[in-house]
């Protein structure tokens, strides 16, 4: 599923502008060390973390987009870094479980 389609179906709020990539899976994690060993390219990363370290880890793996749950929003330096490396950032008011359930109902796993 394209990111743009996902945005329409889940009401995600875009934080930056980026390429409309195809999501090929989902990974949920708040730890950079976990992301670099388990996430895969073009995955959607769901996290509560807004630290710059997550962008460094996500970029290494070529994560397509990051969704910050519970209305979390990263600082400008984090947004600038994500934009520079082509990672789309989104925010949702949902908690991790609620948003992950939405993805499952949409057939994204």
């Amino acid at each position: 599923m394209k990111i743009s389609e996902l945005v329409k179906k889940t009401g995600l709020k875009a934080i930056n502008e980026s390429e409309d990539k195809t999501i090929e899976g989902v990974y949920i994690s708040d730890m950079a060390s976990d992301i670099i060993t388990n996430a895969k390219a073009n995955m959607l990363l769901i996290t509560l973390q807004t630290h710059k370290t997550l962008i460094a880890a996500a970029n290494l793996i070529d994560v397509a987009a990051i969704v910050f749950v519970k209305g979390k929003k990263p600082g400008n330096d984090v947004v600038d870094l994500a934009t520079k490396v082509g990672i789309a950032l989104f925010s949702t008011e949902d908690d991790t479980w609620t948003f992950a359930s939405k993805l499952t109902r949409l057939g994204i796993q």
């Binding site: 390429e19 708040d30 060993t37 390219a41 630290h51 460094a56 970029n59 290494l60």
Partner: protein, 173 residues
């Protein structure tokens, strides 16, 4: 005999702590990986050094294995990876990043001995395997990861970058 076009996978994945120590006598830094439940904070003498605990973060260690030829590259010396954001003109890493161009990101492979007094850093074989591993999985066209050894940094205390380690992340929960 043709060389293997390696397809690497992570093996021997260990989660633990990256512990950083400093010697106030020489200003040197050293680090090691600990899989203990709590990061050790011992102070001890080692030759002319007196190592004191500076900090720790949750981190991961791994080796790489080729799924085609079964070659294993041990990354015992790899303490972590740092995404370079350095722009100091005298920094070799910054210059590599500048010449790498758009779509490229430079990551510094950090070894245990920041002073490189032993003359050792991450092995060339390890750097090659890390470059192949991270680039083999990229799907974004024109995107490239460049992994370089920390011996190319302008100085471990001044070279700017984002270390991939879980330190301070939970402060904002």
């Amino acid at each position: 005999m043709t060389a293997c076009n390696h397809k690497w996978e992570m093996i021997d994945i260990l989660y633990g702590y990256l512990v950083v120590e400093g010697c106030p006598r020489c200003g040197g830094r050293t680090s090691f990986f600990s899989t203990e439940a709590v990061a050790p904070i011992d102070e001890y003498k080692e030759g002319d050094h007196f190592w004191i605990y500076l900090g720790s973060s949750q981190a991961v260690k791994f080796n790489l294995k080729c799924t085609k030829c079964n070659e294993i590259v041990h990354l015992d010396d790899l303490m972590g990876l740092m995404m370079s954001t350095c722009d100091r003109p005298q920094c070799e890493v910054a210059n590599i990043a500048k010449s790498a161009g758009k779509g490229s990101s430079v990551y510094v492979a950090l070894c245990a001995d920041s002073t490189h007094s032993s003359g050792k850093c991450i092995s060339e074989k390890g750097i090659d395997a890390l470059n192949q591993y991270f680039n083999q999985n990229i799907k974004t066209p024109e995107k490239k990861i460049l992994v370089v050894p920390c011996s190319k940094c302008c100085g471990i205390d001044v070279c700017e970058g984002i270390v991939i380690a879980d330190v301070g992340l939970t402060d904002i929960y």
